[in-house]
């Protein structure tokens, strides 16, 4: 299996996808949560709005983004019609960039959920610590950076675990968005596994790739779980 170019593509894509997806999701989710935490008006409505993508299945997300990103009638065409003739945004059909369209759609889908988790975490932080810090003369960014974000550690933990398993098992989003294409340029191990075991009847290669997916999850999640749970005991 390791001599297959397609497998190469699949796991490099998985790395690219997971790293971009998780980092950007966390950053955007945290940023939105902090903004929403500033005791603004219509918070409820905004929160619902950001959470809405979560109510859609990945299939719907994939299909919608397929249309938005299509160079013939999506963003590219709209901007060109606005007068920017030379504008190109062809990631969906560009084999080099197609995996990043999956990242975009995935972030759109999941960052609202991450935001909700962080928001719950922010609300759970004791206000008195913040008051104490501000009395000590700490500026708002410092309070966030030094006190609140470290206080969110358990939330980070759940967020990372949830996003990681979404990333590794991502399948429906890719199938709906560009069906692992163009060619097989946005293949990931999950779609690879499906193709080999079900379309081509090569069960051996299919199960080998499934096993590797399992081992990757174990290799990343188990040490992480271990370190997180152990440090909690110390605390």
């Amino acid at each position: 299996m390791f001599s297959l170019d397609r497998w190469d593509v699949a796991y490099t894509n998985l790395i690219k996808f997971s790293v971009c997806f998780i980092i950007l999701c966390v950053l955007i989710g945290l940023f939105l949560a902090i903004l929403l935490d500033q005791k603004i008006r219509v918070e409820g409505a905004l929160r619902a709005m950001y959470l809405y993508p979560m109510a859609l299945s990945f299939i719907v997300t994939g299909t919608v983004w397929k249309w938005i990103l299509n160079p013939e009638f999506g963003v590219e065409r709209i901007v060109q019609n606005l007068g920017f003739e030379s504008f190109t945004f062809d990631w969906l059909v560009n084999p080099e960039m197609s995996i990043y369209t999956v990242v975009i759609a995935g972030i759109w889908q999941s960052s609202g959920f991450v935001m909700a988790l962080f928001l719950a975490g922010l609300r759970g932080i004791d206000n008195q610590i913040i008051h104490a810090a501000s009395i000590d003369g700490a500026s708002l960014p410092t309070i966030y950076w030094r006190i609140i974000i470290p206080g969110l550690r358990p939330v980070f933990f759940s967020v990372l675990i949830i996003l990681l398993h979404i990333a590794i098992k991502s399948f429906d989003l890719i199938i709906a968005l560009n069906n692992a294409g163009p060619g097989y340029s946005s293949d990931v191990p999950a779609t690879f596994m499906y193709t080999y075991s079900f379309s081509r009847g090569q069960i051996a290669i299919g199960s080998a790739s499934a096993t590797i997916m399992l081992m990757v999850i174990i290799a990343i999640v188990v040490p992480y779980l271990y370190s997180e749970l152990r440090s909690e005991k110390h605390a």
Binding site: D5, L92, V93, N179, G181, P182, Y184, S185, S199, R200
Partner: protein
């Protein structure tokens, strides 16, 4: 290999269990037919078979599984067969028939075939696909021709171009059409469509000889030949004549572009004809069907067929035989194929109900069966095992969607195919 034997053993023991009556649920005179004809025109075709069979006094239990171009249906079939409870018949085609034969679960319908004189009604290339170790285990319902070029003559007129008979003429015409501001080549960038175009290119540059060597016999020297390199180069040139939205597009959307006159040509099998006729277009006038460039003397076939599974119950066996006989009767072959846009698998059928494209196809079918130009379509799973065909398709689609050189493509093709062949 070892795992395959184990699976065989499991399947066999489970089948044995079912013949002992542990899980036999088929009642007398009933056929359960697994198929994936679920879209409008196709569902109508399947209903025709049901009516004919019910007229003979047997019951039809429909077992349609939609999705994935049959992948979903095959998954269901595998689990049913492993559970020892396969349907009476299932829509399976090409080399997969041999794979099922290897599992030892198929029913022999040679008696029906002898009665119906199938040996003389089917070209031998087709009959061989339907046989496992010399016995008929499957019945063909239709023949699709894959190497078609669909063209919109209005676009050609507008651009002052001529319909192409060779790939050189194709690119001349394409340049003119492009200059006229239209899309010369409507293409859906999905792996199977890339492969469909590629098999027609190989057939056009190297003829049936190279085609058979490369796709059927998997001959290494031929895979490295200049013909293959040239074929990859032609595929590369096609890239310049498609539009930016092509990757991921469905085939029928690409056909729609030709119908609307946005694009000039498409290389696709004859199921595309249904799109034209549903849009109210007339063959010969509003659209032209011709053999893909350079393949006028050849015919890549894609034959849908039903395989029959061993039945323990004698009533079910009678119904199964009736089903096999009905499939090959002229009445069904005519009704079904007129509806589906394909041509009958049996020869010497009345010609009146068919349109001009189908008639060309029928004539070429007979002609190429004699000259040796009748070859199985590899992109549609008729020529090679799915593992090998998948390995080929990977290289073709990778090549088409990157800037790989033709030499590298040939090298990758040889390695991929040889590896897949060795893994069988």
């Amino acid at each position: 290999m070892k795992s395959k034997n184990n699976i065989q053993r499991i399947v066999k023991s489970l089948v044995l269990a079912s013949t002992l009556g542990l899980s036999s649920v088929v009642s007398a005179g009933e056929v359960e037919v697994l198929h994936f004809w679920t879209s409008g025109g196709e569902a109508k075709s399947a209903a025709a078979l049901k009516e004919l069979l019910e007229a003979k006094g047997h019951q039809w239990r429909d077992f349609a599984v939609a999705g994935g171009g049959g992948d979903a249906a095959m998954t269901v079939l595998k689990s049913r067969a492993v559970a020892g409870n396969p349907p009476t018949a299932a829509q399976v085609k090409g080399p997969s028939i041999q794979e099922w034969g290897n599992e030892g679960v198929l029913a022999n319908v040679s008696a029906v075939a002898a009665e119906g004189d199938w040996d003389n009604l089917l070209p031998s290339v087709v009959a061989n696909v339907m046989k496992y170790e010399g016995d008929y285990v499957a019945a063909p319902v239709n023949v699709h021709r894959v190497n078609w070029l669909w063209a919109n003559p209005a676009v050609f007129e507008q651009a002052g171009a001529a319909l192409p008979n060779t790939w050189d003429e194709f690119f001349d015409a394409a340049d003119k059409i492009k200059a006229a501001g239209l899309i010369p080549f409507a293409h859906g960038g999905q792996p199977w469509q890339d492969f469909t175009v590629f098999e027609s290119i190989v057939l056009g540059t190297g003829g049936a000889d190279l085609y058979n060597k490369v796709f059927v016999e998997l001959d290494e020297a031929s895979m490295k030949s200049d013909g293959m390199k040239k074929s990859f180069e032609i595929l590369r040139r096609l890239n310049d004549y498609t539009d930016a939205g092509s990757p991921g597009r469905d085939w029928n959307v690409a056909t729609g572009m030709v119908i609307e006159g946005k694009a000039a040509m498409q290389v696709m099998g004859d199921w595309a004809k249904g799109e034209f006729t549903n849009a109210g277009k007339m063959p010969g006038k509003d659209f032209v069907c011709m053999a893909a460039p350079g393949t006028a003397d050849a015919f890549t076939f894609n034959i849908d067929s039903f395989i029959f599974f061993d039945q323990s119950d004698s009533g079910a066996r009678d119904a199964q035989n009736a089903l096999a006989a009905t499939i090959m009767e002229p009445e069904f072959q005519q009704v079904f194929n007129v509806a589906k846009g394909s041509i009958p698998a049996r020869l010497n059928m009345p010609r009146e109900p068919f349109d001009a494209c189908a008639l060309t196809s029928m004539d070429d079918f007979v002609k190429t069966a004699e000259t040796g130009g009748l070859v199985p379509s590899v992109a549609h799973g008729m020529a090679a095992y799915s593992a090998v065909a998948g390995a080929m398709s990977d290289v073709v689609t990778k090549f088409f969607n990157s800037d790989m050189s033709a030499e590298d493509a040939v090298a990758a093709y040889v390695t991929n195919v040889m590896e897949a062949k060795a893994s069988l």
